[in-house]
Every structure is written in structure tokens, then in C-alpha cells.
């Protein structure tokens, strides 16, 4: 699920083929060089200096030059196919803006003029080209879903583009690939590739508030100040500092792809985020009454 060797996207597939070609050729070359080296070391008969000199020319210069030329031709031919240079006005149907934060991902879907906020999970329709715009608010992160394609850095002050096409449905794990601080290891991402129809339906639902947004938890959530940092659609919580929690219950994982999305885990995270993710910006709320934490967790888990 987080493997470059198990591709589910066009780029990842082509790159795996590229890798296999290079690995096989490289393996053969290595055995060839080793065989020559051993022969040279163990042989009793001396070659003439001229023969040995020709050996340098053909083995050291001509052969690698030819091989590398072939490889470069192959790779440079691949590049425009893999990452087409997006022409102006050639706006993709679906653009997903992902902003790296320590240590989570802010996600905004731009679909036909509508913006839909989410976090830590990206969903994409199979077979359609999806354009990612990648940014960062704090330090450099790198956006990488190995099963779909290669990585692209998220650099403060810059906006990078990456376009991917998923070829089959499934859930794929992604990760931050550029070292970004204490909990770099705890910055994962869930990518869900869906059938286009299912995706469209999901996106419509995602744009609305969760149907379970009313409830005791909602009031506690606001009373304890959670809304200062988090947004939950359909409530007065409109904070933009932390992840958007509007449909938290429907996400596969919690805390940026690192723990299972259960009520217990939500409650544990609220009480002491640093125990799960050292260096996370969220302060501990262990001073809240345990029953309040449980109620908030239950309510959040219910937001589907």
C-alpha cells in the first residue's frame, strides 16, 4: 500500500517498468564487471599493454557511453508523458490543493468553482487526471503517494504542481518524504482512489455539513475552545489553524495517517497529542473532564 513496486497509477506504473529495465541491465553490467575483475586478478598470463589499453577505451568509455545514451533517450522520452507541462487555461477538472503543515496535510478540493475543505486524506476519481497544487505554511514537506507516482516538494513561498492519474480503486498510503521536524515519521497521508461516480457522490456529500453535526459533543467542542483552531462545517467552529474536522468520522485514519480512527484514539489524542505525535502544535487537553473528552470524541467519530 505504500510501495513503488505495486503501482496503481500511470506514473508509478511507467516508473516501475523503468526501474525494472535499469535494475536488470545494471545487474548484468555488475556481473560483467565483476567477472572481468576476477579474471584480471586471477589470470596468470599477462595481456599486452595495448590490449589492456583498448580494454579501457571500450569497457570504460565506449560501452558506458552507448548504454547511458540509450537510457537517457528512454527517460527523456518518458518525462513529458509523465508530467505534462500544464498549459495556462488548461485547468484540470479537479484540482486538489494540499498544504503541508507540521505534521499534517490541509486539503482543499477545487471542483467547478466550489471549494471543499478537508484534511489528511485525499480522494480521487479513477481514470481522471487530478491536478495537485502543493504548498507549505511552515517548513519544507514533500508530497508522496508511491503507488500513484513520484514525490513533489512543498516549499514555503512556492507553489508546485503535480498531476496524477489513478488507474485502479483502492486505499494507498502516502507520506511526507522531506524531513520536516520531530514528528516527520508521523506525517502520513491516506489516498483513496474511487470509481468516478462514487467520487462525485462523495464530493457532493463532503461539501455539505455532516448530518450528525447536532449533538452534545458539538456544544462541548465549542465551549472548550476547540473551534478556535478547528473548523466543523455546520457549527460555529471556524478555526483554520488545525485540521478541518467536518467529516472526521468518515476518514480512515487519524492524526495524519498514523493511528486507527476510533473513539478511543480520538479521546487519547485530545488528552495528550504529544504522546502520539511529539512536537504537534495542539496543546494537551488532559485538564478537561474525562466525560467531556469522551463526549467530544464520540461526536467527532460520528461526523460522517
Amino acid at each position: 500500500m505504500q510501495s513503488t513496486l505495486d503501482p496503481a497509477g500511470i506514473e508509478a506504473g511507467l516508473v516501475r517498468t523503468l526501474f525494472l529495465v535499469m535494475a536488470i541491465a545494471g545487474g548484468l553490467i555488475w556481473f560483467g564487471v565483476m567477472a572481468t575483475l576476477f579474471a584480471a586478478m586471477l589470470r596468470v598470463r599477462r595481456s599486452s599493454e595495448q590490449t589492456a589499453g583498448r580494454f579501457i577505451l571500450w569497457g570504460g568509455a565506449v560501452f558506458p557511453a552507448v548504454m547511458l545514451f540509450a537510457l537517457l533517450t528512454y527517460a527523456l522520452w518518458l518525462m513529458p508523458t509523465l508530467r505534462p507541462v500544464a498549459a495556462a487555461g488548461d485547468a484540470a477538472d479537479l484540482r486538489i490543493e494540499v498544504t503541508g503543515r507540521q505534521y499534517w496535510w490541509q486539503v482543499v478540493y477545487h471542483h467547478r468553482g466550489v471549494q471543499i475543505a478537508a484534511a489528511n486524506e485525499v480522494r480521487l476519481p479513477v481514470g481522471r487526471r487530478v491536478e495537485f497544487s502543493l504548498k507549505s505554511d511552515d517548513v519544507i514537506h514533500s508530497f508522496w503517494i508511491p503507488s500513484l507516482g513520484g514525490k513533489m516538494d512543498m516549499i514555503p513561498g512556492r507553489e508546485n504542481r503535480l498531476s496524477l492519474i489513478a488507474e485502479k480503486t483502492g486505499v494507498f498510503r502516502g507520506a511526507c518524504a522531506e524531513f520536516c521536524g520531530t514528528s516527520h515519521a508521523f506525517m502520513a497521508l491516506t489516498a483513496v482512489a474511487m470509481e468516478p461516480d462514487a467520487f462525485d457522490a462523495w464530493l457532493v456529500a463532503e461539501a455539505e455539513a455532516s448530518i450528525d453535526v447536532e449533538g452534545d459533543g458539538s456544544e462541548l467542542f465549542l465551549r472548550h475552545g476547540c473551534g478556535a483552531c478547528h473548523r466543523v462545517a455546520g457549527t460555529d467552529a471556524v478555526g483554520a489553524v488545525g485540521p478541518d474536522l467536518s467529516h472526521l468520522g468518515s476518514r480512515r485514519m487519524l492524526a495524519a495517517g498514523i493511528i486507527a480512527n476510533t473513539e478511543d484514539n480520538i479521546a487519547g489524542f485530545i488528552a495528550n497529542p504529544a504522546a502520539i505525535k511529539p512536537g504537534a502544535a495542539m496543546p494537551a487537553f488532559a485538564m478537561l473532564p474525562p466525560q467531556d473528552i469522551r463526549a467530544i470524541a464520540a461526536w467527532l467519530k460520528g461526523l460522517r
Binding site: 510501495s3 545494471g26 575483475l37 589492456a52 509523465l82 514555503p156 515519521a185
Partner: protein, 838 residues
């Protein structure tokens, strides 16, 4: 004079030997540490670098222990981040580069048939700087204060005080200090190789080791300064909030990545080439024949050196640069594989054309090639941008870089230890232990690192302190951790073999491998390098000139004596090694330690922002260096010429391009100009990334910068006039011109500040004023040094130490001023005129 002199009488020879021994001997007791002899300094340097290797190796083992199982909590995330940062930093900066400097300082003089390198005290200064800086950087981890942002220190993570703490300052300042030492060593090695070869050793007869070192030292000169420039910008942001890498105020984190990798990629070859140089000495010896394709391998090494400066972007394939530049840098990165392959095939061809003796050094050499070729092939893979998008920053790259560095550097270095140990101790290391060590290291290494290729392809990013157990990485990581232990046992076997007591073993032969190059005539007990400086007429003198070793040790060649009680060596011409001068080099001295430690004090004080302590250390350092120069350089000899033996009489003093001091200044300033060029690159980099470069803030104006440029040109002309008048015996006019140049420098510096100052350019407001101020500060710092040099020359003139014929000080200062004039004109014209041209 290409024939040795006649044999002298026994008594005469014994007396000569005694005088030489006395001149070159090291002091006893604690004063031993004030030695500057290349043999001692080389050994200290190498041992220190090895201790750092072992330290970083332990850090590596901690990493493998932590990653042995998923979800491990052996160490905390924060400590792990310190550990991996320090592991990389120490291996690169405190082992890989210094070890070659150490080996070069130790080996080069006898290999070139020389007594010493031209600046032994500079070598010692470099060593003490390295020792202090290294301890400072390594020690930080015991106070939980080590750098923790990864060894390439990307901002904004590493510029943020809260996220990176004091560790980042320790990294920046500690390593800047060590880079100074590296550049000092580079200067020493370049001048040594160019000017201190034995007579007759034309440049195409040089041992390959010397060729490689010359190339590598040249690369250091162009590769380290961009990093130093980057360090300056970085530290200015951390210390004074100048926003070079802060996008909110016009900065850009990518500038650091460019500067870092313009250094960082050549760095790989700076590490790799000297190890290949060791192989180039070992392979011919054990193939029992000269190297096949001497010109091929030299050209390939030069080619590698050049190409390595055009590859840096392949470390930045995922930063979103335009595809056209990715394609260009992919192609350039592939191209470097060709000269590398040529070098490997030169070794194979030499073995083919010779009869190979399977010795321990050859075993390590062959094992190194086997490992390195894998690293080279995976390098070809990651140089292809589309594959790199997947492999970048994963364990695949971790595997690749270890295959390159361990195969291309550590194995050849261990081969070198087994090969050259007899020069240290007159005994051989154990073949049995050597073979055991080889197999433990070879198997352990591959078991550790080969699985990492797969771990990376299965999606494991590098620099994670732990990982979940359900991604298929567990078994691979456990195998790697087990392998690391085996690898470590192999390294320990080598350490044991070197350290085990050997006093009961008999003394070995002087040239146990029957090698052909001159270093094998040096005797471990003697400090003089060579007993007399021979005339060399072959690439493998000990093979082709069979009587040479005896002639040398019988003192039948040049400089067999030390009548005046001075340490002396021959200076020869750059290309064809014609004798030009008898050079007297500095001997034992405390001044090297004092200046290195006080300079270290400056850097350490800056780290902790102890301004007063820093100022005191700077003052001590300044005084020590002036004392050093005043008492130890450009001494006027008691007689103009000296008989160097067998009828050759050579001057004791030269100045200008035939002197070693002039070359040292020239080479230093080339490096210095590279750092300056990097800052200018920064200025235009910001211009290219912003539509509105000046962001509406006022520039320094045109008037004041141009006046400053003119004043600096005036000061330069006055310096040249001083040199002219001094040489033409108008001492008063020369002194007047020195005073004039000094005054113009001061006025020019004040004027230089006026532009940005009067326009209220606030360097913390935006990157534009900040980069302008940096250029101004750089120029002014150089102006200050230039002014001190002028004052020094004036003082030397007044003290009678600078005369019409003995004018090396002034000629070197004039040379410095050429560079200073260029720096000032470029810098003031850029800041003054470029905004007008927009």
C-alpha cells in the same frame, strides 16, 4: 645535474645525518604537541579522523538499533534526529574529507621526494582547528544540543530558532571553522604539489596520488566557498533576522539548497577521488607493473572534477524546477559515469597487463570496487529524474549513498591502511586479521545496505525515527540491523590490528611490497622525509632507477646537510620541476595552536552569542597571526644563495610568482572570490525569482557606491605604486603610497556604508536590503584585511624587513589587492548600478 654526487666519507656522512636529525627532530615532553612536522601532523590528523569515524559509526549503530523493529521507543524522536544528523555530518565533514587531508599531509612529501610541505605550520594550524571544531560539533550531543535538521540543514526548519535550537548554530559555526581548516589544507597541498616536487619530476611523471590530490584540492577551493557563503547568509538570518530564506520577506529556501548542493555534490567526488588515488598507488604495486593508461586516468579524474560541479540539481529533482533543467542535469549526471568507469577500467586493465599478487590491500581494493560499482549503477538510476521522483529521500538513496561512500571511500582507505602501515611503524599489519576484517566488513556491509534498496522501493522514507509494522518493512529492517553489527565487528578488527602491541615483532623491510614510488624510501624513525632530495626521471623511480634508494640515503643528492641549522627544502618550477630556490620552512611552534584555538574561540563564542568573549578571542587570534607572520615568514636570509649540493647553487629568497607564498595567496584568493561569486549569485537569484526585486524599498543609490568603487580603485593603484617605488629604491615614495592606500581604503569603506545607510535600508525588512548589506559587509571585511596588510607592509618597511630585493610581503599584498579591487568594483557597481538598469 642529473647524476648523484660522489660518496662522502663515513664520518662526514654521520655528521651530516646528525645535523639533519637535530634540525628535524620533534621536541620532547608536552612540547611534542607543538611539532609541525608533516609526519606527526599527518598521523594526528588521521588518528583524529578515525576517532570521529568510530564515533559516527556508533551513531549509525544507534540508528540501526532504533529501526530494528517497528514502533521502537528505544530513543526519542528528537534524539534520533540529532543522531542521524550528526552521523551524516561527522562522516562527511570530520572523517571523509579530513582523512584524505591527513593521508596527503603524511604521504606527499616523501612521495614527491620533498622534505616537507611548503607551509608546515599552516598544516598544524589546520589540524588543531579540525580537532577543536570536531570536538565542539560532536560534543554537542552529550548536552542534548546537537543539530537535528539533517546534514543538509534545509531552511526554514533549520533557520527557525524554536525548531532547531542551538544545534543549528553549532553546525553552522563549528563546520565553518572546519571548512577554514580544509581550505588551509587545500592551499598547502596545491602549493606543495605544484612547487615542492623533486627536481626532474615533471608534471607528467607525478605519482597519480599527487595528481588526484591536486585535482581534489582544486575542487575544495571551488566547492567549499559556496557553502561558506551559504553559512554566512544562514547565520545572518539566525543571528540578526536577515530574511534570506524567509519567503514572507522575499527570501527563498531554495537558494540554500542551490548553494548547499553546489558544494555538496563536488564534495562526493572530493571524498571519492582521493580514495581512488590510493587505489592508483596500490594496484600497480600488486600488479607488478606501472599503471596502464596514465593519461587516461589523469584526464578522467580531471573530467570527473569538472563535471561534478554541473550536477548539483540532481539533489533537487523534486523541488519543482522546470523539466528542461531536470533533463539537462539528468544528462550531466549520467555523463559523469563515463570518466568514473574509465578510472575503474584503468585498474582492471593494469591487473590484466600485470601479474596480480592477492594481498590484503588488494582484497579491500577489489571489495571496494565490487561495492562501488553497485553504488555507481544505482547512481545512474537515481540520476534519471522520473525514477528519482520515486527514489528520492527514501532508503533507496540511503543504500545508494552508502554503496558509493563505503565502496568508493572506506574500503580503499582500509586498503590504504594495510598498504601504508609499514611507513608508520616499520611493521606490517596482520594478513590473517586483515582477511577476517575484510570478510566481516564486506558481508556485514552488504547485509546492512543491500536490503535498503528494497526497503526504499517499498516506500520507506529516510530520516524516520520509527515506522509502522504493517507496511512490509520489518524483516528488511531487522536484516539491516543485524548486518550493521557484523560490519561494526569488521571495523573493530581493523582497529584492533592497528592498535595491538607489535613491539615484539621484528622490524620489517623498508619497502615491504617492493613498490615503485618514492614514499617507500622514507624511514619511520626519521622526520626529514628524504635523506637527500633526488633527481627523478621516471614515474616509478624505485623500479626504474635501482640505485636511487641507496643514493638518497647516502646523502648523494641535493640538500644532504643542514649546516645552518634550518629546515630546508627545494622549490621547483610548476611544470617541469626545475630547481628554483632553497626554501626554509617554519619549525616547531606554539603559535599554530594559539591561533587555531583562539580562532575556534571566536566561532564558539559566536555560537553562544558571548560577544565580549568573542571579541577577546578575536583579538588574541589577530595578535597570534600577526606575530606568526612577523616572526615566521619572509625572513631575509643571511646570504643570497646557498649551495644545494652537487654543484647547484640556488637563491634562498624569491618573491612574486616563483615563490610559494605568492601561490598560496593566489590560491586562497581564488577560493575567496568563489565565495564572493556565490553571494553575487544570491543577489541575482533573488532578482530572477521576484517580479519586483527591490519590493519598493529604496536602494543604496548610485552616487555613494560609485564613489566607493572609485576610492577602492585609487587605493589599489596606490598599492601598485608602492610596490613599484619599493622595487625602484624610492623607499620614501613607497611608504607614502602605502599611507595613501591605507587612507583611501578607510575613506572608501566609510563611503561604501553611506549608500545603504543614508537610504535607510533595513536588512531585516526584506531580502533586498539584506543582500545589499551582505555584499557591502563582505567588501568591508576584505577592505579591513587589506588595510591591515598595508599597515603591516609599512611596519615591515620601517623595521627594515621589507627592502628593495626582499619585497615578498608587498608583492603578496599587491596580489591580494588585485582581488580586493575586483571585489569592491563588482560589489559596488552591482548594488549601485543594477537597480538603475531595471
Amino acid at each position: 645535474m642529473t647524476a648523484p654526487g660522489a660518496r662522502t666519507s663515513e664520518e662526514e656522512r654521520a655528521a651530516q645525518t646528525e645535523r639533519l636529525r637535530k634540525v628535524w627532530e620533534n621536541p620532547g615532553g608536552w612540547r611534542y604537541w607543538t611539532s609541525v612536522n608533516n609526519t606527526q601532523v599527518g598521523l594526528w590528523y588521521a588518528s583524529t579522523a578515525f576517532i570521529f569515524l568510530l564515533f559516527a559509526g556508533v551513531l549509525g549503530l544507534i540508528i540501526r538499533a532504533q529501526l530494528a523493529v517497528p514502533g521502537n521507543d528505544l530513543i526519542s524522536a528528537d534524539f534520533y534526529n540529532q543522531v542521524f544528523t550528526l552521523h551524516g555530518t561527522v562522516m562527511m565533514f570530520l572523517f571523509a574529507v579530513p582523512i584524505f587531508e591527513a593521508v596527503a599531509i603524511f604521504l606527499l612529501p616523501p612521495m614527491l621526494g620533498a622534505r616537507e610541505l611548503p607551509f608546515p605550520r599552516l598544516g598544524a594550524f589546520g589540524f588543531w582547528s579540525f580537532l577543536l571544531g570536531g570536538i565542539f560539533v560532536c560534543g554537542s550531543i552529550f548536552f542534548n544540543a546537537a543539530p537535528s535538521s539533517g546534514w543538509f540543514m534545509y531552511p526554514p526548519l533549520a533557520t527557525d530558532e524554536k525548531l532547531s535550537g542551538i544545534g543549528a548554530d553549532i553546525w553552522l559555526l563549528g563546520l565553518s571553522f572546519i571548512e577554514v581548516a580544509s581550505i588551509a589544507a587545500a592551499v598547502e597541498l596545491i602549493v606543495g604539489i605544484m612547487k615542492c616536487r623533486a627536481p626532474g619530476m615533471r608534471i607528467n611523471l607525478m605519482p597519480l596520488f599527487a595528481w588526484y590530490l591536486l585535482i581534489v584540492a582544486g575542487m575544495i577551493l571551488f566547492a567549499f566557498p559556496p557553502l561558506i557563503a551559504g553559512d554566512i547568509l544562514f547565520e545572518m538570518q539566525r543571528m540578526f533576522d536577515w530574511p534570506f530564506f524567509d519567503p514572507a520577506r522575499g527570501g527563498d529556501p531554495l537558494l540554500w539548497q542551490h548553494l548547499f548542493w553546489i558544494f555538496g555534490h563536488p564534495e562526493v567526488y572530493i571524498i571519492f577521488l582521493p580514495a581512488i588515488a590510493l587505489m592508483a598507488m596500490i594496484v600497480p604495486t600488486f600488479s607488478r607493473r606501472p599503471i596502464v593508461g596514465y593519461s587516461w586516468i589523469v584526464l578522467a579524474a580531471v573530467g570527473t572534477g569538472f563535471l561534478s560541479f554541473g550536477l548539483w540539481v540532481h539533489h533537487m529533482f523534486a523541488t519543482g524546477l522546470p523539466q528542461i533543467s531536470l533533463a539537462f542535469f539528468s544528462a550531466a549526471s549520467e555523463a559523469v559515469a563515463i570518466p568514473t568507469a574509465v578510472q575503474i577500467f584503468v585498474f582492471i586493465a593494469t591487473m590484466l597487463a600485470g601479474r596480480v599478487i592477492l594481498s590484503t590491500p588488494m582484497l579491500f581494493g577489489a571489495g571496494g570496487i565490487a561495492i562501488f560499482v553497485i553504488g555507481g549503477l544505482t547512481g545512474v538510476m537515481v540520476a534519471i529524474a522520473p525514477f528519482d521522483w520515486q527514489a528520492h529521500d527514501t532508503y533507496f538513496v540511503v543504500a545508494h549513498l552508502h554503496y558509493v561512500l563505503v565502496g568508493g571511500m572506506l574500503f580503499p582507505v582500509v586498503a590504504g591502511i594495510y598498504y601504508y602501515y609499514p611507513l608508520v611503524d616499520a611493521k606490517r599489519l596482520s594478513d590473517r586479521l586483515g582477511r577476517t576484517a575484510f570478510w566481516l566488513m564486506f558481508v556485514g556491509f552488504n547485509v546492512t545496505f543491500f536490503p535498503m534498496h528494497l526497503t526504499g522501493l517499498l516506500g520507506m522514507p529516510r530520516r524516520v525515527f520509527t515506522y509502522p509494522g504493517d507496511l512490509g518493512w520489518n524483516v528488511l529492517n531487522l536484516i539491516s540491523s543485524v548486518g550493521a553489527v557484523v560490519f561494526a565487528l569488521g571495523v573493530l578488527t581493523v582497529v584492533w590490528d592497528v592498535l595491538r602491541p607489535k613491539h615484539r615483532e621484528p622490524r620489517g623491510e623498508q619497502n615491504p611490497w617492493n613498490a615503485g614510488t618514492l614514499e617507500w624510501i622514507s624511514e619511520p624513525e626519521e622526520n626529514w622525509g628524504v635523506r637527500s632530495v633526488p633527481f627523478v626521471s621516471s614515474r616509478y623511480p624505485l623500479w626504474d632507477q635501482p640505485t636511487l634508494a641507496n643514493e638518497i640515503s647516502e646523502g648523494r643528492w641535493y640538500l644532504p646537510d643542514a649546516e645552518e641549522g634550518r629546515r630546508e627544502g627545494l622549490v621547483t618550477s610548476v611544470l617541469d620541476a626545475r630547481p628554483e630556490q632553497v626554501l626554509r620552512v617554519g619549525g616547531t611552534s606554539k603559535v599554530t595552536i594559539v591561533s587555531a584555538f583562539s580562532l575556534g574561540g571566536v566561532f564558539i563564542a559566536l555560537t553562544f552569542k558571548w560577544w565580549i568573549a568573542g571579541a577577546i578571542a578575536a583579538l588574541i587570534c589577530f595578535s597570534a597571526i600577526v606575530y606568526w607572520l612577523w616572526t615566521g615568514t619572509n625572513e631575509i636570509p643571511e646570504k643570497p644563495e646557498k649551495d644545494a649540493g652537487i654543484g647547484l647553487s640556488l637563491p634562498l629568497y624569491t618573491s612574486g610568482p616563483s615563490s610559494v607564498g605568492w601561490w598560496a595567496m593566489f590560491i586562497t584568493m581564488v577560493g575567496d572570490s568563489t565565495a564572493f561569486a556565490s553571494l553575487i549569485f544570491g543577489y541575482f537569484f533573488y532578482w530572477t525569482i521576484h517580479d519586483d526585486f527591490t519590493a519598493g524599498s529604496a536602494g543604496p543609490g548610485t552616487t555613494w557606491p560609485l564613489i566607493a568603487a572609485a576610492l577602492f580603485l585609487g587605493a589599489w593603484l596606490a598599492t601598485l605604486a608602492a610596490r613599484y617605488f619599493n622595487a625602484h629604491a624610492s623607499v620614501a615614495l613607497a611608504r607614502a603610497n602605502l599611507v595613501l592606500a591605507f587612507t583611501l581604503t578607510i575613506i572608501g569603506s566609510v563611503t561604501g556604508v553611506l549608500g545603504p545607510r543614508l537610504h535607510q535600508m533595513d536588512p531585516t525588512a526584506h531580502v533586498y536590503p539584506a543582500i545589499v548589506w551582505v555584499l557591502v559587509c563582505w567588501t568591508l571585511a576584505h577592505a579591513a584585511v587589506g588595510a591591515v596588510m598595508l599597515a603591516y607592509c609599512l611596519a615591515r618597511s620601517l623595521a627594515g624587513r621589507l627592502t628593495k630585493t626582499h619585497d615578498m610581503d608587498l608583492r603578496n599584498v599587491a596580489l591580494y589587492w588585485h582581488f580586493l579591487a575586483i571585489t569592491a568594483v563588482i560589489s559596488f557597481c552591482v548594488i549601485g548600478l543594477f537597480p538603475e538598469a531595471l
